[in-house]
Amino acid sequence: MIRLPFTYRDVIRNSIKVCWQVDDLLPPDFELDLSRPQLPESIARAMVLDFLNEREQLALNHIRSHAYMNIFIFVEEYVIAQTLHHAEAELFGDHDALRALLRFSEEEIKHQAMFNRYCAAFRAAFQGPCEVLGSAAQVANVILGHPPMGVMLTTLHLEIVTQQHYVDSIRDHGSNPLFTRLLKHHWLEEAQHTKIDMLELAKMAEYAEPEVVQTAFHDYLTIIASLDGLLRQQVEMDLTSIQAFCGRAFTDSQVERYVVLQHDSYRRDFIRLSITHPQFLNFCDELWPEGARLVTNQLTTYQAA
């Protein structure tokens, strides 16, 4: 049995303490200031593309910020369905778990509302097309087609990255204070969600047959590989957007360089930050030590050559 230093009741207490409202962060009529970067450079990696001038690098930062928000809207779609399923399982049983899971679902819906509001303001302020991944329900369908434990491991993975994204924004003094505030408030609640993920996974591991835990790791790695495919699609979309903004087609070698560097940047932001995160790896080790090794071995797959 995995012992964790927190309970559902602790999570509820913290969740009430850190709770925020969308209107407090982004008033309904807010306008986005695109005169400065939105994302920290460690996330966007726009400045390494030296064939872009300063104005174009700034636009790429903005394109990435829009895609960043959309990716979270995207993944939160399946997370909401998943947490409601877990909440249903606790009905008539553990009321602390039920309440924690319902708060979790509500907070994810709120995050989607916040990100949607940001994206709407972005589209109003940005000059030109800016395409993003658009089949959230389809992707949710594919993820939820896997057994629950692998899905929950994926959720833990995705929530852990938000912590590093916030840390990145504090270290980068050039990034927009508004965006830093969004990353902070997102992380504050996601930090509670990671605890719920771990409590749920610990419970699942307690009741499940060992082969279910082992299958979960393989399912998780399959889902992460699909996520990588989506990130690659987003890189292509960003490339189209930035070329439209620049008003020119990049040369073949510039396109090649763009795709390699930007795909690596997305992989760092959404895959590597978790599979190298000590909290994630330690927890995986508790679930199944061989599983933790499988996760660590993935690093070479998602590392730039």
Binding site: H85, H86, E88, A89, E90, L91, F92, G93, D94, P147, P148, M149, E200, K203, M204, Y207, A208, E209, V212
Partner: protein, 80 residues
């Protein structure tokens, strides 16, 4: 009896009270040919049986027990 039902036992007692939960679970276990709910698959079958009961609350309870069993690794038929 609660121990024989795993996490489904707490739900039954919370909804029906100890005595009625005991009576109902003994009957369903007998009908399923089980002594106890030892695995998530057993709990899934128990929940499936419960949703055939006439009382609406038992049908909801059955659904919750099935949902929990799936989360704990029950192998569901392809139609589920």
């Amino acid at each position: 009896m609660r121990d024989a039902l795993g996490p489904a036992g707490l739900k039954l007692i919370n909804v029906l009270g100890r005595e009625e939960a005991d009576r109902l679970s003994r009957r369903i276990l007998r009908e399923l040919g089980l002594m106890a709910l030892l695995t998530p698959d057993d709990r899934y079958r128990f929940g499936e049986h419960l949703i055939k009961e006439s009382a609406p609350v038992l049908r909801v309870l059955g659904r919750c027990i099935m949902a929990q069993a799936i989360i704990h690794g029950a192998k569901t038929p392809p139609s589920q």
